[in-house]
Amino acid sequence: MEGRKRSNLRLLSLAGGLFPVVAVVAALLVGAIMLLILGADPIEGFGAMIQGAFGGVRQLSDTAAKSVPLLLVGVGITIAFRANVINIGGEGQIIFGALFATGFALLFPSLPGWLLLPGVLIAGFVGGAFWGAIPGALKAYFNVNEILSTIMLNIVAVQVMNFLLQGPWMDPGEIERGSRIPQTTRLAQQADLPLLIKNSRLNIGLLIAVVAAVLVYIFLWRMTEGFRIRAVGFNPHASRYAGMHVQNRVVLALTLSGALCGLAGAILVFGSEAHRFVTDGSATGFTGSAGFNGIVAALFGGLHPLGTIPASFLFGALLVGANKLQRTVQVPGALIVALNGLIVVFVVSSAIWKRRLSQRIQLLASRADEPRNGP
């Protein structure tokens, strides 16, 4: 009982505070040292990254476009974390969202745009929700650890994706040419996500993601059902005592979490420049590891939907800037993946000081409240 209560606060103690900023600065310092070891000038390297991410309209729009899946996944992860559920199935949920959305477009290729476009987005939402509901139900009703089930479902999702993209859904042109790249044909044009800036990669996915973040904030902090999710995450025993159905809230949290990841998957397909579903046979080949990088953004955003907006923009910038790193100082962009990992480790490791700090404050407060019985 006591241990259970503490472990809930453990996850929530990752929310908010200055520590994420310190963690990012520390990770960037490590990055600078690594650049030095690799024989590159860190100032030149980071300068190139800033230039590559913020240097002009083209760069800024690339950064914003890159941040869209991170924001949606990050907000989704936030819902799960607030219910004290760790969702690392983002990759699989993105893929399933993309599969449902692509399937919808292939099924109804001649629908008018005003029907098809919302259709594919809703299909993506539903696909991700489906893939998130499974680990939710497994946890709530069979007590299966959600970390493990989401990992396994990521693997299954990749296989389903490869099966469809190398089989029934494969671009006939790829079969003719014999190149056999696992990708669909170009999907219905009227489902292309409209661009916000001409000749850029930035589409209305950005607006959808920001609106989703605001809606999730309203849901979690201004609506009863959202309050219940947070209550269950904060203290399941008290919530049960208060008459809440804890299991159903866990399922709901993971379903919504998956739904937002699925929406990201639909946007990745219909907002891509190729306007098709393409992979290299791995999850990363399609998602660009957004399912994992979204966790980084969520942690940096203090597990708050609105905080995740600037956080995902920053991590979008890191990812876009990484390409420039390769061209300017010949250091592979994989450096940023490694640094993202360090940021996660630093953020969760520094939570101990935050917990200690709040414990001390509570202790001092309780001492101040005590009546003084001294002589």
């Binding site: 069979f142 990992i151 299954v156 296989q159 990363t284 993946v337 360090l342």
Partner: protein, 310 residues
């Protein structure tokens, strides 16, 4: 179908399955030790990748496979030290910090590979060791006794691991740290030291698992493990925290992989269907998890950091 069921093809397939199981087995046995002591190391895949790259690099530059193996073990040990520092000393949330270590290993191994090697050159693997008399037995000889030392080592870990966990003082300390750390602490045994030990040992085995993978395939590439480390973590649950159970899980994955690839090479089933077949182990694992939680109980203190008086 008939070509698949010839004795020779079957022996080849099962033999390959045993070799495929090796890297899973190293990583999963190592993870078993960590979890039995109460620490969930979710960064196994990243550690395997770093181990694989260091082994590949040393093998490429020196041609000395044993030095390569040693290097992978040392890298694994250091990653284990970092993981233990985060999860034991700093009490970091293990489900998330592990993802951090995974991303670090994924990025770092790719970075070093691109920077230091660039083009994927092949390396030679460990030679097969024929055990006199045993290797000459019909069928069984080729199936079980014609592998490299690395394969024998992995399967030897199963009885050794079982013995250490169940019949030694160290094993008792490990199991108690995972079930009731406060009791261990009362007896004057440092919970932290036990957990540092198991996490570092487990990570060392993960590094060796990576080395086993890269020497078996003879190459390195970005994301070589393709999630094997995550499967290894699941195999520990699959095997109900017992080395023998873990071995069955590893063999299941290894055999399905080799059967699918054999069917693919013989063009018995189309490529796309083989993708569907490849998800069988993952589905079986999920099913096993559902059944296992009803029957088995995970170490009571798993993922819970220990704090005195807490």
């Amino acid at each position: 179908m008939s070509e698949f069921f010839t004795a020779a093809a079957l022996v080849t397939t099962i033999g390959a399955g045993i070799r495929y199981a090796t890297s899973y087995l190293y990583a999963a046995i190592g993870e078993t030790f960590g979890q039995r002591s109460g620490v969930l190391n979710l960064g196994v895949d990243g550690i395997m990748l770093l181990g694989a790259f260091s082994a590949y690099y040393v093998a490429l530059k020196t041609g000395d496979l044993w030095l390569a193996l040693l290097m992978a073990a040392v890298v694994g040990l250091f990653m284990g030290l970092a993981m233990a520092f985060a999860s034991v000393t700093l009490q970091a949330e293990q489900g998330i910090s592990g993802i951090g270590f995974y991303l670090f290993g994924l990025g770092m191994s790719d970075l070093l590979f691109q920077k230091l090697v660039g083009t994927p050159l092949p390396i030679s693997g460990f030679p097969e060791v024929h055990i006199p008399w045993l290797s000459d037995l019909p069928v069984v000889g080729e199936l079980l006794f014609s592998h490299s030392l690395l394969v024998y080592g992995a399967f030897l870990l199963v009885p050794i691991g079982t013995y250490v966990l169940n019949h030694t003082t160290i094993g008792l300390k490990i199991r108690s740290a995972g079930e009731n750390p406060a009791a261990v602490d009362t007896l004057g045994v440092s919970v932290a030291r036990v957990r540092y030990g198991t996490v570092m040992f487990g990570s060392m085995l993960a590094g060796i698992g990576g080395a086993a993978l890269t020497t078996e395939l003879g190459i390195f590439q970005q994301n070589l493990t393709a999630g094997q480390g995550f499967i290894a973590v699941a195999l520990v649950y699959f095997g109900a925290w017992r080395p023998v159970g873990v071995m069955y899980g590893a063999l299941l994955y290894g055999l399905v992989t080799s059967i699918v690839s054999q069917l693919k090479t013989l063009e018995i089933i189309p490529r796309s269907v083989s993708d569907l077949a490849s998800m069988l182990p993952a589905l079986i694992t999920i099913l096993a998890l559902v059944i296992a939680v009803q029957r088995e109980r995970q170490p009571a203190a798993l993922t819970k950091p220990y704090e005195r008086g807490g």
